[in-house]
């Protein structure tokens, strides 16, 4: 009984492979530029790339946490760039907002039913995705994750920013800017999803461990809503007249803090603001001096690493458990640098 099923499944997989190989034949001319210049040098491996290009097009389904946010658009562009480079075809899908766990699972389900060669997945909910990943495993579709993982061992690897480290990086710069003492507060975007939690914890833990004279007086959650985050930040500033720094854990949160400071008519630099992610408004705020600096990830790097490791997974290569695509401090001094500019999506 079980044997027949496995047989059937592998037949189906084989058929899918053939079909995708056939379908890919015509568009080979698109893949004219297999040159592998090092981007960040993190995970690019020349062997993987050439393998992908020779086998015709692999079909890789990427299910993201969203597609509206600029961050995800940057991930997508990185993934597309890498896909073109390796000569594979990808699809990129995501729910309208990051609260739509169900919608995202539905997308993952459709992706599995499509029988791609590999799936790249960013989990909105680390538990709800488990059964589906098991399903993918049964269908022998290799899974790589990006940005946020699912609580299983099925995935071959995960390409993401180490958010704890990123949070700690934010804490280090915050501490330096406020001379290692005083009150700070955090406007976070989620107390549930892992990036929100880790960016918060990385920051808070670092402060507690290394900076005894800094006190984190309050942590509130604005769901990444600019308006709500602004109102939260204003209340925090009112509640703590001696507040020295505010840390916003994503773009909406950080812009909320910036708006709050503007609305209160505070002078640039009166309060040290550390932001996260990128976006035009944050870049403007750094240039005008309202925001001291921000932690950026490398979303394009995430996209590239995801596609790259997906191809490696298809070809059975060993992959590290986790690929850290890195996080970087951006302030007025380096914002115009070329390598930083590459990571600042608008």
């Amino acid at each position: 009984m079980k044997n027949t099923r496995v047989a059937l499944l592998s037949m189906a997989a084989a058929t899918a492979l053939t079909l995708s190989a056939c379908g890919g034949g015509g568009s080979d001319e698109l893949v004219e530029d297999p040159a592998a210049e090092g981007e960040g040098g993190d995970a690019a491996a020349a062997s993987g790339e050439s393998g992908g290009a020779q086998d015709g097009e692999y079909d890789i389904a990427l299910v993201s946490k969203g597609f509206q946010h600029q961050f995800w658009q940057a991930v997508q562009s990185g993934a597309e760039e890498k896909a073109e480079e390796l000569g594979v075809s990808i699809t990129f899908d995501g729910p309208a907002s990051e609260t739509e766990v169900d919608a995202q699972l539905q997308m993952l389900r459709s992706a599995i039913e499509r029988q791609p060669d590999a799936i790249g997945y960013a989990a909105l909910d680390p538990e709800a995705c488990i059964p589906l990943l098991e399903q993918a495993q049964e269908a022998e579709i290799p899974v790589v994750e990006f940005d946020a993982g699912c609580n299983t061992d099925i995935e071959k690897t995960i390409a993401k920013t180490d958010s704890l480290a990123a949070g700690a990086l934010a804490a280090e710069h915050m501490a330096e800017l406020i001379d290692n003492e005083g009150k700070v507060a955090v406007v976070a975007h989620s107390q549930i999803n892992s990036t929100g939690v880790e960016r918060r914890d990385g920051f808070v833990n670092k402060i507690e461990e290394d900076y005894p004279d800094i006190e984190v007086v309050d942590i509130q959650y604005g769901d990444g809503d600019h308006l709500k985050s602004a109102d939260i930040a204003k209340a925090m500033i009112s509640a703590n007249p001696d507040l020295k720094g505010l840390y916003g854990t994503n773009e909406g949160s950080a812009i909320g803090v910036v708006n709050a400071v503007n609305e209160l008519g505070m002078q640039p630099g009166e309060l040290t603001i550390v932001g996260f992610d990128s976006g035009q408004a944050q870049i403007d705020a750094i240039k005008s001096g309202v925001m001291a600096g921000l932690i950026t990830q490398d979303p394009q790097g995430i996209g590239r690493a995801t596609v790259d490791s997906a191809v490696k997974a298809i070809e059975g290569e060993e992959l590290p458990e986790e690929i850290d695509t890195g996080s970087y401090w951006v302030d007025q001094s380096n914002i115009d640098d070329e390598d930083i500019q590459a990571m600042l999506y608008e």
């Binding site: 658009q73 600019h226 602004a230 109102d231 939260i232 209340a235 009112s238 509640a239 708006n259």
Partner: protein
Amino acid sequence: MTDTTTTDAAATSTAPTAAGPGWRQSLGQRLQQALAFGTLIALVAFFSVASPNFFTISNLSSILLATAVIGILAVGTTFVIITGGIDLSIGTGMTLCSVVTGLLLTNMGMPLVVGVLGGIAFGALLGFVNGFNVTVLGLPPFIATLAMMMMAQGLALVLSGVRPIYLSGVPGFQQIALGQLVPRIPNAVLILFGLALLLGIILTKTVLGRMTYAIGSNAEATRLSGINTRRWLLGVYALAGACTGLAGVVMASRLSSAQPQLGMGYELQAIAAVIIGGTSLMGGRGSILGTLIGALIMSVLINGLRIMAVQSEWQTVVTGIVVLVAVFADNLRKRRAEGGGPV
């Protein structure tokens, strides 16, 4: 019966400014407002004692500004709720209007006035479509506006190309919400109060307001009185839609950008404010002043809890409790007033 006599006495003695009969409020409504106002004062008093940083000019100004967007949505949708309807599309509709304003001002390079009026007019159009679906197609308001909520959300994403439209480059735009014609009071607050005053007058002193109450009290009786209820309902939805548009402009101005992914959930906050303010979901009863107080109660509560560094999740729980208590208190009062038995 007994309370009517007292109503009358109270009406003449305490509200000499109120115009002639029919447009004064009943005692019940007055009581509810007094109750809501008392709650507001009690909350302010409580937080002032609890934290020295609550009752400061800067924080009070923050509270007022935080009330503006939800407040504008709420006073507009009060009309719809008094007719016995509901409008779920105001949150995402607001976002769509802010996107429309954003596009007019950036992509099309229209003058400021056109962008602002365009956003408001587009809101009125959305409201009109809601009204059309409710009156002409006969859809229940819940369904018609639920559909509109989704369409508006989608359209906001489509029109904006799924990215924020930055408006910091539009001269004067941010002044709409954040300028201070009156020192320390952001214009958004003046807009809210000005709008509330205007809508309060429309609701209590004009034919449109009268029809709003009439339809909510008894739509069939209104129709049989020889009134074209469809036309007036269309007007009500369009008016509420225009307020949605205005809220969209104010929000975009405050954020210096149109954020197409926001908006969902704002409708429930606004509806909660309306209910706390004593407007009945069954229709026929409610006031703009009540809604304004309701919106202020919500933002004072949230701000106060934040000042006291209460965890976010508990803030939400407390808000829910306040909605429950408000509705329960209202019911209790109504039962008192009406359990008086026959005379």
